[in-house]
C-alpha cells in the first residue's frame, strides 16, 4: 500500500484532543456524575429512605438502569463476536465502538447494583455467604466473567495499535505515550504474536457469545423465577436477549454518528455502515416486537385476574402513556424510519438510534416496576406513597449520573485510544487493494 495513504489513514484515526464541543460535553458529563455522587453520598448517609422505594416497589429505576446497562452491553458480542465469526468484514470499524460500549455498560451495571443495596459495605457477604441456588449469585458470577471477557476483547485487538501510537509521540503527547508504552510496548508485530493474538480473539469471540447470552438470560431469570404477573414467563430469556441486541445496536448507531461527526471519520464510518446497521436495527426491532407481542398477547388472551390488573395498568391505566411511548420509540418509529433507504442515512439513522435507546430505557422501567405494584395479596393498611412509585431526585440524579458515567468512559476512551482499529483498517485496506 502507498505509504502516503497509510500515513493518512493512521493520522485520521489517531486519538484527537477535545475541541470546544468536546470539552463542553466532557464538562456536562462530569457535572452529572458529580451530582449523582452527591446524591449517592446522601443515600449512603441517610439510607435508602431518600429513595421512593418502599415495601412494594423495592426495585425502582436503579434496577431498571441495571437491566438497561446489561442489555446495552450485549452489543459487544453482537458486533464483535457474531459478525466476526460470520465473516462480516464491514463491521470492522465498529468493533471497538461496540466493545467500549460493552465495557462501560457492564462496569456501570455492576456499580448500579451496589448502589441499590442498602448496606453496600456488606457487599462482600454476597461472595462469602452467597447461595449457589440463587439467580442473584449467578448474575454476580456471569457479570464478573463478562466484564473480563469484554475487557480482553477490547485490549487484545488494541495491541497492534499501540505500536502505531508509539510512533506518534509528538501528536499524542508524552503522557499518553507513557500509557501506550505501559500497555503495549511489547507488541512487535511478529508473526508469532499476530498468530497468538488472532487465535485469542477467535477464542474470545466464541467464548463471549454463550457468556453474553447467559448474562442477559440470567438477568431475565431474576424476574422470571418469581411467580408474579408480568414476570412469570418462560419466554423471558429470549425476550430480554432480543431487546438487548436491539438497544445495543441502537447505541452503536448513535455512537457511530457522534464519533463520525466529532472526529471527521466519514471515510471510515461510511453511509454504507449506517445503511447496514439500519437494516440490522430493523431486523432486531421486528424480532423484539415479535417477542413483545408474544409476551403480552398470551397473558392478555387468558386475562387471569392478577395479570389483568398488570396488563390493563400497562395498556390503558397508570403506565399506559409510558408503555405506548416505549413501544413506539423503541420499535415502531425506528422500524418506519429505517425501512426506507433515505431513513438509513446517517442523520435519520442516528435519530432512530436515539429513539431506540430512550424507548428501551423506559421499556426496562416498565418491565421492572409495574409488576411490583401488583402483588397477589392486596395492599392494605399502608401509607399512600407505598401504592405508587415516582423516583426521588436522588434516584434520578444517581441513575442519570450512572448513564453519564458510562458515556464518560466511552468519551475518555475515544480521547486516549483510537476508536477505529488502525492496524485492522490498514490491513483490510491493503487486502482490498490487492484484491
Amino acid at each position: 500500500m502507498d505509504s502516503i495513504i497509510k500515513q493518512k489513514i493512521t493520522e485520521d484515526l489517531l486519538p484527537q484532543p477535545f475541541g470546544k464541543k468536546g470539552k463542553i460535553w466532557l464538562a456536562v458529563l462530569t457535572a452529572l456524575c458529580i451530582v449523582g455522587l452527591v446524591a449517592y453520598i446522601r443515600q449512603l448517609s441517610n439510607g435508602l429512605v431518600v429513595t421512593s422505594m418502599r415495601d412494594y416497589v423495592s426495585w425502582g429505576i436503579y434496577i431498571s438502569n441495571f437491566v438497561f446497562f446489561v442489555a446495552i452491553s450485549l452489543v459487544g458480542s453482537l458486533i464483535t463476536a457474531v459478525l466476526r465469526l460470520t465473516n462480516v468484514h464491514w463491521s470492522t470499524p465498529l468493533t471497538r465502538i461496540a466493545e467500549i460500549i460493552a465495557v462501560a455498560a457492564i462496569t456501570f451495571a455492576a456499580i448500579i447494583i451496589v448502589v441499590d443495596m442498602g448496606r453496600p459495605e456488606r457487599f462482600y457477604n454476597l461472595f462469602i455467604h452467597g447461595r449457589l441456588q440463587s439467580p442473584i449469585i449467578w448474575d454476580v458470577i456471569v457479570i464478573t466473567t463478562y466484564f473480563f471477557v469484554s475487557l480482553l476483547l477490547l485490549y487484545i485487538p488494541l495491541l497492534p495499535d499501540f505500536k502505531i501510537l508509539l510512533k506518534f509521540k509528538e501528536k499524542t503527547g508524552a503522557k499518553l505515550n507513557k500509557l501506550y508504552r505501559f500497555l503495549g510496548s511489547f507488541w512487535k508485530n511478529t508473526p508469532d504474536q499476530i498468530k497468538i493474538s488472532e487465535r485469542s480473539i477467535g477464542i474470545l469471540s466464541i467464548t463471549i457469545i454463550p457468556i453474553a447470552f447467559s448474562i442477559h438470560t440470567v438477568t431475565s431469570w431474576l424476574f422470571a423465577t418469581t411467580y408474579r404477573p408480568g414476570w412469570d414467563s418462560t419466554n423471558f430469556g429470549a425476550y430480554f436477549i432480543s431487546g438487548a441486541f436491539l438497544v445495543g445496536a441502537g447505541g452503536v448507531v448513535v455512537a457511530m454518528y457522534v464519533f463520525r461527526q466529532s472526529y471527521k471519520l466519514e471515510k471510515y464510518i461510511t453511509e454504507s455502515h449506517f445503511d447496514k446497521m439500519g437494516k440490522l436495527l430493523v431486523m432486531l426491532a421486528l424480532l423484539y416486537l415479535y417477542f413483545n407481542i408474544n409476551e403480552f398477547l398470551v397473558p392478555a388472551f387468558k386475562m387471569k385476574k392478577p395479570e389483568e390488573e398488570h396488563l390493563t395498568g400497562l395498556f390503558t391505566g397508570e403506565f399506559a402513556p409510558l408503555f405506548w411511548f416505549a413501544v413506539l420509540t423503541a420499535m415502531v418509529i425506528p422500524i418506519v424510519i429505517l425501512l426506507f433507504k433515505s431513513g438509513r442515512k446517517p442523520l435519520p439513522a442516528f435519530i432512530a438510534g436515539i429513539l431506540v435507546v430512550i424507548g428501551s430505557w423506559f421499556k426496562r422501567y416498565l418491565i421492572v416496576t409495574p409488576t411490583l405494584l401488583h402483588p397477589f395479596l392486596p395492599m392494605r393498611d399502608v401509607p399512600a406513597n407505598y401504592r405508587h412509585y415516582f423516583p426521588s431526585w436522588e434516584e434520578w440524579a444517581i441513575a442519570i449520573g450512572s448513564l453519564a458515567g458510562a458515556m464518560l468512559i466511552i468519551t475518555l476512551f475515544a480521547r486516549f485510544f483510537p476508536i477505529i482499529p488502525i492496524q485492522e483498517t490498514l490491513t483490510e485496506t491493503e487486502e482490498h487493494e490487492k484484491a
Binding site: 449457589l132 441456588q133 458470577i141 471477557v149 487484545i156 511489547f186 497468538i196 474470545l204
Partner: protein, 290 residues
Amino acid sequence: MKKHKYIFAVLLILFSISNTSVAQGSKIDPIVNLAYFNNNNHDQHILVNTKAKINDHFQQLAGIKVAVYITAQDPVNLVGKGETGEEGELIIFFPPGIKAEWMKAAKQNFIAVTEPSKEYNAATGTLDITKARIKIDTAEDKKIIAVVEELKDSVWTPIKNVDVKLAIKRLGGDLSVDEPPQYTTDSSGTISADFKRDSLPGDNKGNLVLVAKVEDNDIYGNLSIEKTVPWGNKFTYVYAYDKRTLFARRGRSPLWLDIMAYSIIIISWGVLLYLIFQLFKIKRLGKNSP
C-alpha cells in the same frame, strides 16, 4: 313578559347557587352496625361497622371515631372508643370496668356513637343482646354434643331452634365435622353430630380443635366454643434443613446444580486464564524479539 323572563332567569340562578351550596354543605349520614361476640364464654367484644351510601353504593367508612357504651350513653358506661380501620370496622373488647354493669341484667343494650367530622354527621347504632353461652362435649365413637343456653332469672336455660355450626378449625377456615354444615338445637338446647373426618392431619400429637358456633343470631349475637380432641393424625415434621434442595441453605445446593454451575465457571474462567497466559506469551515474545 320580558320582565318575567328576567325574574325567572334570576330565580333559576339563585336556585342553582343555593342548591350547589346545599350540596357542598351537606354531610353524609353514616350507618352504624354493632355485633356481639363471645368466644369460649370469656373473650367478649363488640364489632362496630360503619358504612354509608355514597354515589348509590354502600362504602365502608375508615377513620370514623366511635365510642361504645353499655346500657346508656354515659361516660361511666363507656366500654371503649377508637377509630374504624380501612374496612370500616372497629373491635372493642370488654374492659374489667364494665363488669358491674354487665352483671346487672340478662339482657343488655349497647350504644355506639360516632363523632361528627367535616364529611360525616354524628350517628348512633344500638344492639340488644341476651346473654347466652355454648358448651361442647364429646362422647364415645367420636360423637360431638353441643348445648346452647341463655341466662333467664339468673339460671342458664337451654334454648331450642338455634342454628349451630360444628366444625374443625383449619388454617384457612372451618371444616364441618360431617356433611351438614349446621344443626338446630332441640328442646333441650342440644345438638349432636358424628365426627366423620378421619385421617385429618392434626398437630404433632394428633390433636384437632373442634369448634361450635352460633353466628349472627338476632338475640344472642355470635357465640363460639372450642375443644381440643385427639382425633387427628399425628403430624410428623420433616426436617429438610440439611437436605440438598433449591431452597436449602448455602452449601446445600443440589448436586446437579453444583456440577452444572461449577463446570460452567471452571470452563469460562479456564478460558480466561488461558487467554491471560497467552497475553504473557505475547509479552515474552515481544521482549525477546529485536
